[in-house]
Symmetry: C2
């Protein structure tokens, strides 16, 4: 392929991956576990905010139960995502702000987390083969997750 | 290239990346900040255990000061790393156990963390362009980092 065509293909891939991120946000807002499950490869290695160290793929029932544990939508805002595509693999990293109110909770949570995704091209689209989501933690005497940071 | 040659090249790349991980462990053990800095691309996006959300590249002086804040070696054991190479990019993820004793601390720390690396081929070797290190946290009433998990 000529360089211009290669650049166009790379731009299309990057747009598709950013669209996947938007789709994940929309699926959280709509509490649609099936739509979330659809973008993950079966058995994907998922390093989540909550234990254990790793989850293997999305369990749709568990994800739906988690989504339903929130009062109203789960809002996710993506920022500063940097996408690298190489052949049939890609990775990206950036920040996500998560906001919502757990059923029975006194107040809303609203914090920024770090997000890394590794993806594999599958058919016309992309699927997540690895996800790493985290917040750092303060290492002073209190040793607590840092929910007050901003990108 | 023939498939056999491609497979050999992929195996060599994977070995090189696993050797990079071993080199990082050795550099921590030896408290050699320069050797750590050498495997990172300048300005690499580093999501570390400690705030802020992201660091940009390794600051050798800060890294050396951190290494010197430990009494004896900083031990890092890698486990279950899965490496994917595609052209001049690669990513890998697995677990690292960190053990050591901070100067002035009453006891040793010893815990498992999750590690994701994205790499770029540079010359004959590889450099880290993105690193994400974390521990999950318990979401019960205590909301504390989970230092007691094992892979």
């Amino acid at each position: 392929m000529a360089t211009a065509t290669l650049n166009e293909a790379a731009a299309t891939d990057k747009s598709a991956i950013l669209a996947l991120l938007e789709g994940m946000s929309r699926a959280h807002y709509n509490k649609d576990a099936a739509a979330i499950e659809a973008v993950y490869m079966q058995g994907a290695a998922i390093f989540n905010l909550a234990p254990p160290l790793t989850h293997h793929g999305i369990n749709r029932q568990e994800k739906q139960a988690w989504l339903d544990s929130w009062d109203g939508p789960v809002e996710i805002e993506s920022r500063d995502f940097d996408v690298t595509v190489s052949g049939d693999f890609a990775f990206c990293h950036g920040f996500m702000r998560m906001e919502g109110k757990k059923k029975g909770a006194d107040r809303r949570v609203n914090f920024w987390m770090r997000e890394t995704l590794c993806l594999h091209r599958e058919g016309p689209g992309w699927k997540i083969v690895h996800e790493h989501t985290s917040v750092p933690f303060y290492m002073d005497d209190s040793v607590r997750p840092a929910f007050d940071l901003k990108p």
